[in-house]
Symmetry: C2
Subunit: 400 residues, 2 copies
């Protein structure tokens, strides 16, 4: 048995907001499995790591014994974009929606437990609604409050048109919570407004309002913009292992911690210990390997992750080091020599002070690993590639 406090710790990790925390405590205290809702767009079944931040959170709820309601919002998908403004959103057929749903399942069950997952379609109840029901639904919310939503507000203020049906979508999404009797709804921080509409509609229908839990939006490979397919800065969960591995390795050392927090299942303690390791001189690349490995193992398997890593190291060497580089034998005696002197003897720098400067700038690598100490002693027996900047290489052998 997990205590309520333990549950809350797991649930809270990496979340942006929980509204209202006290209500969540009370719901957890009942000891009953909660109904955890999350809504997905029926038009885009290609999930990327950005989506999995939320799906991971669903998984955590499952680990705690709760039921996930994976809602596919096909009602609006079957209408298409009625504003006629976007030629790219023709209505989806029932067949297309079923096909998309299968793709979703294939993808989400890499993370979620099928036994604790209900796939739901909102056309199920929305198709039974008539025009009068829709009028009644619309009566539950005011124009002024709808215009408070960030994007509506901006568009209204800047005279960009908002079609009236756009005011109905948040209501439909909110009504889904009524139909599903959701206890908790998860969404990205940009969904907060819609999730709160759900609370209000549940109350209007005499239900206890759902707890709203928002998760941060994951930045893409660029470390700045939201991960999205259209921006090309994404890692798709169906991508080949080697591709995924390379993309994870391409993120900055800083962004790595963000990805650890939002994507890794490792404990916070373990991640903190990685940070300490790096402070004490470990190569960040090795820690990033652990992240890439975990992610690839999740969406492929352990072996695929190992192969991807080997492949990465291999390709990395191939790509970075020219084939015909000078081979240099250097005599270092029994005591060894400082790195700066070796760089000088290998004619990769003009002087040892040059060498100190280049190391300081992070321009010196041994076997592809950045070196931070120009005074480190290198001993006889070493064989490897020294690199200064992007273009100067030497294959050295140290003898005594």
């Amino acid at each position: 048995m997990t205590s309520i406090e333990e549950s809350l710790e797991i649930i809270s990790r990496g979340t942006d907001e929980i509204l209202i925390l006290d209500e969540l405590k009370k719901k957890l205290a009942t000891g009953k499995p909660l109904r955890i809702k999350a809504g997905f767009d029926p038009t885009a079944p290609d999930l990327h790591l950005g989506h999995t931040v939320l799906i991971n959170k669903l998984r955590q709820f499952q680990i705690l014994g709760h039921q996930v309601l994976f809602l596919i919002g096909d009602f609006t998908g079957m209408i298409g974009d009625p504003s006629g403004k976007s030629a790219t959103r023709p209505p989806l057929s029932r067949d297309e929606i079923v096909a998309n749903a299968e793709t979703y399942q294939q993808q989400i069950f890499k993370i979620l437990d099928p036994d604790l997952t209900q796939i739901e379609f909102n056309s199920n109840w929305m198709n039974d609604m008539n025009a009068a029901d829709m009028v009644r639904l619309a009566s539950n919310y005011t124009v002024a409050r709808m215009l408070e939503r960030d994007d509506f507000n901006k568009r209204y203020a800047t005279n960009q048109s908002i079609a009236i049906h756009e005011f109905l979508y948040p209501l439909v999404q909110g009504y889904d919570s009524v139909a599903l009797r959701a206890d908790v709804e998860l969404g990205g921080t940009d969904q907060k407004f819609n999730l709160l509409v759900g609370r209000q509609l549940q109350e209007a229908h005499g239900q206890p309002p759902q707890v709203v839990l928002t998760v941060p939006i994951l930045e893409g490979l660029d470390g700045v913009q939201k991960m999205s397919k259209s921006l090309g800065n994404y890692i798709g969960i169906d991508e080949p292992a080697t591709e995924m591995f390379g993309k994870v390795m391409s993120i900055s050392d800083d962004m790595m911690w963000r990805y650890f927090e939002l994507l890794s299942f490792r404990s916070t303690e373990e991640i903190d210990s990685f940070k300490r390791d790096i402070e004490q001189g470990s190569n960040p690349r090795d820690i990033k390997f652990l992240l890439a490995h975990e992610i690839i193992a999740r969406f492929h398997d352990e072996q695929a992750a190992k192969n991807a890593q080997a492949d990465f190291v291999n390709r990395f060497s191939k790509n970075e080091i020219p084939e015909d580089i000078a081979e240099v034998d250097i005599h270092v005696g029994t005591e060894g020599l400082p790195l700066a002197n070796i760089l000088k003897q290998a004619e990769l720098v003009g002087s040892t002070s040059d060498a100190h400067r280049m190391v300081k700038q992070g321009a010196v690598k041994i076997d592809g690993e950045k070196i931070s100490d120009s005074r480190q002693t290198m001993l006889a027996g070493f064989e490897g590639v020294l690199q200064v900047g992007k273009r100067k290489f030497a294959k050295i052998r140290l003898n005594n």
Copy 2:
């Protein structure tokens, strides 16, 4: 055959606006009977003269051979007021709506030709609409344009809440024009916005847009505020003839012309001749009698109008003239005497110059009719009541 120009003259009389006049000309030029729509609230089948301004206009279209679509907006009536703000608007049952519709028919066929009138209910097509259809309908209009509507604009600006379903009603009303393929829609000036929504929706559905014709809002008995049941300043078309007659007689002499313009079927020429008559000394009361007579004859019959007038004169005398007033015999000779002298002899004034002044002030009446000429000669044989101010009366008999 009425020419287009003649038709336009009849149609234009007493209207506020016709949008767009050229389109109306073209529609008339086809020579086909046009479909003339007007919408009515299902909750208030008690029509008053204010409503008949519009119904009269429908009648004129019928006289020109066109078809009237008398639309009862029962769709929203059957929903009730979903905002829950008004406890006074519970949903109407199908039975109540049918009963109301019968009352409407009873009333409107006092003016309209049943053979050229179709009674329609918008539940007929709105009940077939599902939620998705409603979303599509809502996509035809923008939030910004809806907020341009006068009342919405004021409420939004003053932070009075507008529920979102209120944005759907004008769209439903507009869609009725699509369902009915209306050529022309009539409404009060306060309905202009809604009628224009109809034009836009028809265009969105590939129909030629309806011509919008607005009629002025009739002032009530007070001559200032809109005639309405809740203000108590109305003349119901089902009221007893004597009641109606008295109410028409109570309007001011100025307001009488407004009522002639908007309620009478007399020609403009005839009404202009009445104005000239009064300028030349006719008693406005007599002209008002003609108005009251016409209106009572329309909603009751000719005999009822006559009786109501007789009753009015009778009650007027009873009310205004005390029962025990002095009876005075006055000798006027064969030539008669000026009114001023008679007033003096009857001791209603102190002097003939008093008499001239009182007449000038409009304070002198003979048999309840105001007199404007203090020098008019009164001949032997006259018997009647002279009145000065509110309290001085004498029943006089003139002898030679």
